[in-house]
């Protein structure tokens, strides 16, 4: 699977099921495998993996699932995560480390530490969150990468 153009990305789309917490992370794992096969640098692969995985978990915890679109360019990976969940009432608050609205049963599963969005931001070179209460949330992330030989 090799990109033949410097402009057209390799695009992958995934449905993130919101009913089975044990399956969260499958899409991120597939993306990680693709990037490894394409020969991208390991640091960037790790950042893409973490950013997308945190996003998947967020969609499962808060929004009953969603969709993920991943566009792989020679110099960057662009991730779009979309859900039709309840929305984020205060995005800046949600970006604070330690702040979480996750229910107790999620904390028992090892999440809800309030590090999801901060981790995503830390791993991204650019991140934007667009959320409407009662309609859903879109998260856009760009992570710069070095391709094979680059």
């Amino acid at each position: 699977m090799t990109s033949k153009s410097s402009v057209e990305p390799i695009t992958q789309q995934y449905v993130i099921p919101g009913t089975d917490f044990t399956r969260a992370g499958e899409a991120s794992s597939k993306v990680k495998t693709i990037l490894k096969r394409l020969g991208y640098d390991s640091d960037a692969i790790r950042r893409v993996s973490i950013a997308m995985y945190e996003g998947e978990i967020n969609m499962v915890i808060h929004a009953h699932g969603g969709t993920a679109k991943v566009e792989i360019f020679p110099d960057r990976v662009e991730i779009t995560l979309s859900d039709q969940g309840p929305g984020i009432s205060d995005v800046s608050k949600a970006m604070e480390e330690g702040y979480s609205t996750a229910p107790d049963e999620v904390r028992a599963l090892g999440f809800g530490a309030g590090m999801g969005l901060p981790n995503m931001k830390k791993c991204s070179d650019d991140m934007r969150v667009h959320s409407v209460i009662g309609k859903g949330t879109d998260v856009y992330m760009t992570i710069r990468v070095r391709g094979a030989g680059g």
Partner: protein, 114 residues
């Protein structure tokens, strides 16, 4: 520190992944996976009491080479199989988190930049 040394120090049982010469450079101990995901170090291991598949996914995303479940916890076959597929060694130790981390730290294994 070689995996074999870690197994010895923790009196651990190896559930999958038997390369005892595998080098582990750093370790992270946490039951909160998002806290672990903020820990980005190379050739690391995760100590945790969280025995659901998300501990394996967390280790996978971080390129961790080994997970050790503490407090005598035994993961299910699904967790071990997922780790095996992702080429992550799985151990279990009777020691609690504090003691397990302490034994490794005392023997020279560190936690990276923090």
């Amino acid at each position: 520190m070689k995996l074999g040394k870690i197994v010895e120090l923790l009196d651990a049982k190896v559930l999958c992944g038997g390369d005892m010469d595998m080098e582990i450079q750093t370790a992270c101990g946490s039951d909160m996976m998002s806290d672990a995901l903020a820990f980005i170090e190379d050739q690391a291991m995760l100590l945790t009491g969280l025995i659901n598949p998300q501990s394996v996914r967390t280790a996978e995303m971080l390129d961790m080479r080994c997970i050790c479940f503490v407090r005598g916890k035994m993961p299910g076959d699904d967790v071990v199989e997922l780790a095996r597929e992702r080429e992550i060694a799985v151990l279990t130790t009777r020691y609690r988190m504090f003691s397990a981390c302490g034994k490794l730290y005392q023997a020279g294994l560190r936690g990276g930049d923090c």
